[in-house]
Symmetry: C2
Subunit: 392 residues, 2 copies
């Protein structure tokens, strides 16, 4: 798959995290890119979230570079705002960009002062290392408890030529829908006007990052950024924007699934599919309630077809439905029909549930047209191990 034209990437170890593993990443667009972003809805927002928001306002939605550090959230510290400002300013000077065109992002521990000197000192070698081929290095540098880097790619053929999309993301815990969960950076070389780009991101985030939960927690630092620099020279025809949006949606969905698959301690990706709910919004609420149920997630961990927990979790969504009209399938096997136990071979289904992917399908019989798709992961001892001692 070809990367989008006109972007360069770099990474280095700036000494922010204790293990010597790259912790600073840079994404640069040769042309100023139209940028759209969604941010965490947490009441507590990290300094880089506040500054990125401000920079996008000041630059009227243009971005030239994204400066990301892992290992420290730059949140709830005395100097957070000053650190974010100083590091963006230093990067802008070296990159010869207006300061508001540099967007900061951070991920890591909350409440620990971040030394701006470490980032400023690392900037020359970070910028010296920029290359259009180092996409994967940048994707690795933004990882925290992630076990694997998470990337997704797409290419769309349009009348005037091809446009490419590449996305990277990080996140495996503190993941919950209803905000730009985690850090995600998606680049395209299509030429897309800013207002349309923002609308596209809203819609595609809604069906990808906002349909994802690992543990129901929400970070102070979440940010999902979509850049379109037009370096392909290809502006989609009015009728082609839908095609581009679908390609962006596929990239975001792949990234969101990759996060669930790599959820802290997870061994299984769980896809929840709801059909027949009164509305799409109701379907999403039912899916979210199932995805956030520790009882459902531990049952899947144990390959236990415990559909009663699924029914009960669906019943907790605050959505009106008749329990006697519910069908539940796990791995395409009917386990509940009309709200009652369906006959199935427990041994066979247990074996099917040992697979690395589990699909839970809940159908409300009747006239409802609401549907939703949602991703989460199983809940295992590994989650506890990781989180009982993350900070220290």
């Amino acid at each position: 798959m070809n990367l989008p034209l006109g972007y360069a990437y770099s990474s280095t170890y700036a000494g922010i995290r204790q293990v010597e593993k790259d912790d600073l990443a840079l994404i640069v667009s040769g042309l100023p890119a139209n940028a759209a972003a969604v941010f965490t809805q947490n009441r507590v927002q990290a300094a880089p979230v506040k500054l990125s928001r401000r920079h996008l306002r000041l630059s009227k939605g243009l971005a030239g570079a994204v400066l990301v550090n892992a290992g420290n959230a730059n949140c709830a510290t005395r100097t957070g705002d000053a650190v974010a400002r100083a590091t963006c300013k230093a990067a802008a000077r070296l990159l010869k960009l207006p300061v508001p065109q540099v967007l900061p992002a951070s991920t890591g521990v909350i409440g620990v002062e971040l030394d701006p000197g470490k980032i400023v000192d690392a900037l020359p070698r970070l910028i010296g290392g920029l290359s259009s081929h180092r996409f994967g290095d940048a994707a690795r540098a933004i990882m925290t408890t992630d076990l694997v880097p998470k990337t997704a790619f797409a290419e769309v053929k349009l009348r005037r030529g091809a446009a490419r999309i590449a996305g990277m993301t990080k996140g495996s815990g503190m993941i919950h829908p209803q905000m730009a969960t985690t850090l995600g950076f998606v680049m395209t070389d299509a030429d897309i006007p800013g207002a349309r780009l923002r609308a596209m991101l809203q819609r595609t985030a809604e069906r990808s990052y906002n349909r994802l939960s690992v543990d129901g927690d929400t970070s102070t630092n979440d940010m999902l950024l979509l850049l379109a620099n037009g370096a392909s020279g290809v502006r989609p025809d009015p009728k082609e924007f839908r095609k581009v949006e679908e390609a962006i949606a596929r990239v975001l969905e792949t990234l969101a699934q990759a996060i669930a698959r790599d959820g802290e301690g997870a061994r299984k990706l769980i896809t929840i599919v709801i059909a027949g709910a009164p509305t799409n919004e109701g379907a999403a609420r039912m899916a979210r309630s199932i995805a956030n149920s520790p009882l459902v997630k531990t049952a899947v961990a144990g390959s236990d077809p415990n559909w009663g927990r699924i029914l009960s979790a669906a019943g907790n969504a605050g959505v009106a439905f008749d329990p006697l009209k519910i069908d539940i399938h796990m791995q395409s096997v009917a386990v509940c029909r009309g709200g009652l136990a369906a006959p199935f071979s427990e041994a066979e289904l247990k074996q099917k549930l040992d697979a690395p992917e589990c699909e839970i399908r809940v159908t409300v019989r009747g006239k409802g047209k609401g549907s939703a798709r949602f991703w989460t992961c199983d809940l295992t001892e590994g989650y506890i191990h990781i989180n009982a001692s993350y900070r220290t």
Copy 2:
């Protein structure tokens, strides 16, 4: 502590659960008792929940007996309603009570047919075993994954004499606020009119069972019942009802804490105290968000003073506050002042966090008067072990 007058208890093994441990309990009041109840708000409601609701309506709030089984929820089965009706009818006949004065309750696995014959056959020996001293046996018979029986007692001196209160409860998983979480049966021999009893239960459940979360899940079978049979002959003076209500509240709070303390896999009771929120309701939302955060709960499991997770969880409650006005104490040690790290000895606090009880106190500086107290438990590998293989 003396038990309330005029009640008798019994338990037996009816063969509902696989291990031979009493699974059927009976509570009988010699005089018809005024009864108040709160039930699960799950959309999916077990047959005994529906029938208890109906019986209370038909009996105009009078109850003579409570028939409880563990090991099977009698929910989402073909015959559930008929099973609940048949067993209550059989008990009513033997106890010479009008059928609607028998209230059924069930707890256990969902979606498995419950054989009414097992209960009906056990009724003669269950009733034969009735005694005013077997309160503890009944409390043990309603347990499922509970490690310990949960009981609480109070006695109030009133002008006309003493009134006694005794409560038993069960529950250690699938525990979440905003409903009559779990099964709870509270008896008093005070003479309290039905309407007042219902108002008392609403208010006291709000500050006890509705301030409790183990895993954010809600059962289809939750029920909290308060019986007042007047056997003491003591009707409180109008001014004394407040005193009785406080005693009931203490009993319910003790029971709710006992559930959190015995949360599945839990090693620690966590008490969350919020002060200075805009409203009491906002304070409760902040507390609930912290109580439901797996990241906070795993941090406490690891004795990790990770206050950033507490701040972040508070920020997710949808309550407006200025992050720079937040103080956080753990075990009375200030860990965050004005939204920023406070200096504290990590080694000393870690040691304090090894205690079996953890207090997290979040204060919003300023003029807000909203406060709340909330209970939960730490999240450990034990929770996973129990729930990855509960059903099979």
